[in-house]
Each structure stands twice: as C-alpha cells, then as structure tokens.
C-alpha cells in the first residue's frame, strides 16, 4: 500500500456516514421551510432584483443619514462659486521629486472673465490642491436627530474649502449635498404615500371582495371612475387647492394624501381579486368545515396567502409615487423650496441655459432614475417570488 492512499482510507469511514445525514438535513430544511423562507430563496435567485434590493437599501440609508453623507449643509450658499463645475477626485499626488503618493484631493477653481460674453467661467486651477478625506470635520449636525457630531462621510479636510463633487447651482449650493438631502423627502414620500394607499386599498378591496354584491359593485365603480380621470390634471387640480400659506410639512402631507388617493385603486383591485379567488379555494372551505370562525379564516388562512402579493404590488407602487411627486414638484404644483425633493431640485434645470451651462443640475434626475429602476426591479423580483407554491 502506497503512502498517499493511507489518509484516504482513513478518512473514508468518517465521511461516508456523514454524507447522507447532510443530505437529509437539507431535505428537511426545504420540507420545514415556511412561506417567507421559500419566498426569500426564490427571490435570492433573481439577480436583478437582488441588485435592486441593495441599491434601494443604500438609497434609504443615504436618506436616513443625509446630514452625515452630505459634505455641506444643503442650504449653505456660496456666492463665489455659482454654477461651479464638478471637480474630479484625484487619488494620487505627484510630488516634487516626481514620485506618486496617495493623497486624495480635488483641484481648486480659478475664475476667468470671458471678454466677449462678459461672463465668469471657472477654470480648474492645477496649483490649488484641496485635500479631501473620509470622516472629516465639517458643519455640526445631529445623526438621526439625536447624536450631535461634526463628522461627515466625505469632504474637504479644511472646512470651508470648495468641494463640489458634482458641481454647484445658481446660488453656489452643493448639488451633491442637495441631491442626498432630496432623497429624504422623495423616498419617504413614496413610503408614506404607499402606506396610506395600502391601508385604504386593503380595507376597501377586502370589504369589496369579502362582502360582494352591491358594496363590491359600488367600490369597483368608484375605482373605475378614479382611474378614468387623467392623473396629471387631477393632481394639478388637487395640488393647486393646497394653500401657499401652509407650513411646508403640511404641504408634504397634503401632497402625499393626494398621490395616495389615486394609488390605492391598484392595491384594492389586487386584494379584491385575491379574496375572490381564495374564497373558492378548497383549503378555505376545509377551514370553514374545521370550525374556524370568519375572522380566523381571513386572518390565518386567507391573509397569509395574499400578503406576498400585496407587498409586491406595494413595492411596485413606490416608484410611481416618486415619479408623481417629482412630476408635480417639477411643474411647480407639488413641494416648494425651501423643502428639498428631487422634483424641487429639477425645477432648477428647467431652462435651456442650465442645460447648456450647468448640465450637472440634472443629477437629481439621475437619482430619480436609479431609485425608480431599483425599486421596480425589486418589486418585479418580489412579484415573481410572491407565490412559491405555484407550479
């Protein structure tokens, strides 16, 4: 017997019985996996949806910690840097001896006067080196509104130095910081609006599907009427009736309510349809014969069968809310400054001049696209994974 064979021979008796045991535990894992585990396993296989989930989570994290992520406060103006272009981040610095050293920095600006147009233009000044870093000191803020700190995720090491990652707007405010802060309202408005839609939709859809008859017919006709009204004029009409004198927060909630007044219809229809189809399922009949009360049938046997569908529909409704808010604010009927939402920010980019001279003002638009796409992918993945039992 040769030497290399020995360890194999020795190992064989220990690994052989281990194999079937491992297989049985994975089998048991599937056999005893509940609905949500199965949904998650199925969702995990959907790569695009997983990407959507990660990006969505990042965006919401960014919104929650906006003060920390943004290098400067969003309302800080700086008259010296109106329409300053984006600065590229340089990671390495060429020293006097010609060698490269790791020193992240951005380059400063030099203002030149265009003699023909009599316009100030910014030119990158190669000699002005502004060192930047992570977790730098800056304007004081409170994390989650509780913990005071003056640290920021990224920024110029010397506070006050110009640092415009994606440029500045017409008042010299940092577009990046404003976009980060815009996520707060735009993303939360989607959530709040959808929650409201969910409550109204589930309630009316559930009543409609459960009671049937005249109630059902009435709710369905109301939904049809609401859905047949063109949304933009409807929103415009409703939004225009929000008094200008209201507190911005009140306007925020008014807009949310207006958006969800239309949004609930989709969810109501899904809930009603599920109720109707589940009511005739054998397992619901069986539950009835098992002596389950009406409330128990709905709570234990019907609702769990539709929650995953409702969650998927809700997720798919968030991007619609975000787009609607952006559209309303863009045409000036939604939120107003000083509130910052992506729609409000995009209002700055309404004219041809900004298109020509400061294209970076569209950054909030890019943010909207990313948010909407990732939420849509997430919702699609959830919808596909919603019913792990269908064959």
């Amino acid at each position: 017997m040769s030497a290399p064979d020995t360890p194999v021979k020795l190992a064989a008796p220990t690994t052989a019985p281990a194999e079937p045991v491992r297989q049985r535990t994975t089998g048991d894992r599937v056999a005893t996996a509940g609905q949500w585990t199965l949904v998650w396993w199925r969702f995990r296989r959907h790569k695009l949806a997983m990407t959507g989930l990660v990006v969505t989570l990042l965006i919401y994290l960014m919104a929650i910690f906006a003060d920390f992520v943004a290098p400067v406060p969003p309302h800080e103006t700086n008259a010296r840097y109106t329409y300053a272009p984006p600065q590229g981040i340089h990671l390495f610095l060429r020293g006097e001896d010609g060698g490269l050293s790791f020193a992240p920095h951005v380059l400063g600006y030099k203002v030149e006067l265009d003699p023909v147009a009599l316009r100030r233009t910014f030119v990158i000044d190669e000699t002005k080196i502004i060192p930047i870093g992570l977790f730098v000191k800056g304007a004081p803020h409170k994390v989650l509104g509780l913990f005071p700190t003056d640290r920021h995720l990224i920024g110029a090491i010397t506070p006050g130095d110009p640092f415009f990652l994606i440029g500045a707007d017409r008042l010299g405010r940092d577009v990046f910081s404003r976009t980060v802060h815009g996520a707060r309202i735009s993303m939360s408005l989607g959530l709040v609006g959808v929650t409201l839609s969910l409550v109204i939709g589930t309630l009316l859809g559930g009543i409609s599907g459960y009671l049937g008859g005249m109630v059902d017919a009435t709710v369905q006709r109301v939904i049809e009427v609401i859905r047949s009204i063109p949304t933009i004029p409807l929103w415009m009409g409703l939004a225009a009736s929000v008094p200008l004198t209201w507190h911005p927060l009140a306007v925020y909630f008014a807009i949310t309510i207006i958006l969800s007044l239309v949004g609930w219809t989709t969810i109501a229809r899904i809930v009603r349809g599920k109720f109707l189809s589940l009511r005739s399922e054998d397992f619901v009949t069986a539950a009835e014969l098992d002596g389950a009360s009406r409330m128990r049938i709905i709570r234990v046997h019907m609702l769990p069968a539709m929650t995953s569908y409702i969650i998927a529909a809700t997720t798919l409704a968030i991007p619609i809310m975000i787009l609607s808010e952006t559209a309303l604010s863009f045409i000036g009927l939604g939120l107003q400054p000083p509130l910052i939402s992506w729609g409000v920010l995009l209002k700055e980019a309404q004219n041809i001049r900004s298109l020509a001279t400061a294209p970076w003002l569209f950054a909030p638009g890019v943010a909207v696209v990313i948010a909407v796409l990732s939420l849509s992918f997430l919702g699609d993945g959830l919808r596909d994974a919603a019913d792990p039992y269908q064959r």
Binding site: A31, F283, A286, A287
Partner: protein, 347 residues
Amino acid sequence: MAEPLLSVRDLSVHFERPGGFLTKAQPTVKAVDGVSFDIQPGETLGLVGESGCGKSTIGRAITGVARTRGGTISYATKEGPVVDLAAMPRRERARYFSEIRMVFQDPQSSLNARLRVLDVIGEPLRNFGLSRPAEIKERVADLLDLVGLRPEYLERYPHAFSGGERQRIGIARAIATDPRLLVADEAVSALDVSIRGQIINLLMALKARLGLTYLFISHDLALVQAIADNVVVMYVGALVERGPAAALFANPRHPYTAALMAAVPKPQRGDGRPSHAAIRGEVADPANAPPGCRYHPRCLFATERCRVEVPALRPVGASEVACHHAEHIDLNAAARHAPLETNGANP
C-alpha cells in the same frame, strides 16, 4: 333495518344566477332536485354519476358547505335525537361539522400551503376544542401514525409531500374530530392509479378501526363496485336508481345505470370487445333539464310517456328505480345494440 345515520329527503340545491345592472338573469341551475336516500350506520354508500350530475353538490350539502333550497337532511346525533341539518341556522349547524367530515378531491388545493402539517391537522382540534393546546401536537402525531405517515413529519409543510401523502394528511384532518360520517368526494380521483389502491385500503382500514360510515362519491364504477355496500346513481340532479351494490351491479334496472356500466372499460380482446360509446348524446344542462324523464333524450327505450311524465322511484327487484319501463326492457339487449348505434365501423 336499523335507524339510518343520515336520511336525505327531497333534497334540492339550486344555484340562482340573478341578473344585475346591465346583466340578464340566467336560469337557475338545479344542481340537486328532489333527491332522497338513507345512509345506514357503518355502511359505505357509493354515489355515482357523470360529471355535473350533482353528486358533489350533495356531498357539499351534507357536510354543510352548500346551502340547501328544500328537503331535509335528518341526522341521528350521537346523543340520540334526530335533527334536521338542512333547517338549521349556520351557527347551530357548525356544531355538527365535527361529526360529518369531508375528504376533498384535490390534495393539492385542499391543504393550506402556508401551514405546517401540525397546524393543518390541528386546526379542527383547536377550533372544536377537542384537544388542549398542549396536547394537540401529541394527538396530531398519533393521527399521522394512524394514516401511515411518520409522526416526525408534523413540522413539515405540505409542499414536502407527494400527492398520496397529502391525501393521507387530508384524511388525518378529516378523522381528527372522531367523526361518524365521512364524505369522500372523489377522494382518490386526483391520485395516480398506483396510489389509489393504497388510499382506498387506508380508508377501508380506518372504517373498520374507527367505526366510520362513508358516503363515497365517485365516477369510478369499478371502484364503487369494489367497496360500496349500497349505491345511489344520479343523473342531472335527480336520483335514477338505488339499491344494494351487488344487486345493482349484477342486474341494473335503469337504462342509464346499464349504460354507465357498459362504459366501464374491461380488459378484453377480440370480438368480445365492448363498445367505446355505450351511451349517446350529451349530459343535459341542469339549468334547462328536459321535461319528463331527464334521461329520455339519450335513452334507447324512451316513449311518449317518458317525454311527459317524471318517473317516480319505485321498487323493482332488489333496487329502486326511477324508470317507467324498468320491468319490461331488456337492458342486455341495449348494451348489445349500442355499438350499432354509434360505432358501426367496428362490428
């Protein structure tokens, strides 16, 4: 004869389709129309008929799922007094749900995929208060053992089981309440042929062990012949023949019963091969049943009387038959002639 466990008299179940705004009212579907039969304690009563004849609806009416329109369902309760289940308000009726149980046809859809086996079988125990919460697990394990499944499977979800195993779970759920009558509505029709025998054996073993009574609803005549003590034959919501299984299968008295039996494929070769179509025409629409005898448009022996007069159920031989001509028609001749009617190319 002993007092029947369940006695159905003139039972009717109608499905009304009223018109609404902009929709026209549809004629009422008389799924079950004036059906009477008895179920004796301890017997297996086979209920047979084509699809759509109302046999499942009878099962649903007896278990309490479908609302009856007329007639009585007299049930001899455990305590003794006979009650009419059909006349009971819903709440009172629910008390007897635990005594008359149902085994569903489709083991796929009749088990809630989102509940563990423990919760599926434990549901009636919990709702009827038959076991203390702490004892449910133990009782469910016993039930699993009783239906031939491993007790340690109770943490599993239905998706981990095959069709036959799922049907065993469905049976365990049905017998969990110690019922007296089990309505098996096509309980093995959705299963593979190889599994059917096992489930039938299980049902028969449970019957002997627990002293159950079965109402076995099926379209599989060979199966009913094998297991039933008495048989009821239905056609378009009405009863056409009833009697002891042996007598009824040996000597069918109603042309429809004879036609159904002729349609059962028999393994035979050569000239003796039975016809493929022993019955002609289509099943009548229960919303628009023909006048007189409902079977007359398809019957080889139909006369003017059959077209006008509804035949009453009357004893002929060992069975009871709803046919005007039951005594003097030669059903064997009919079975021989049928191929000529429909299958001339194959003498």
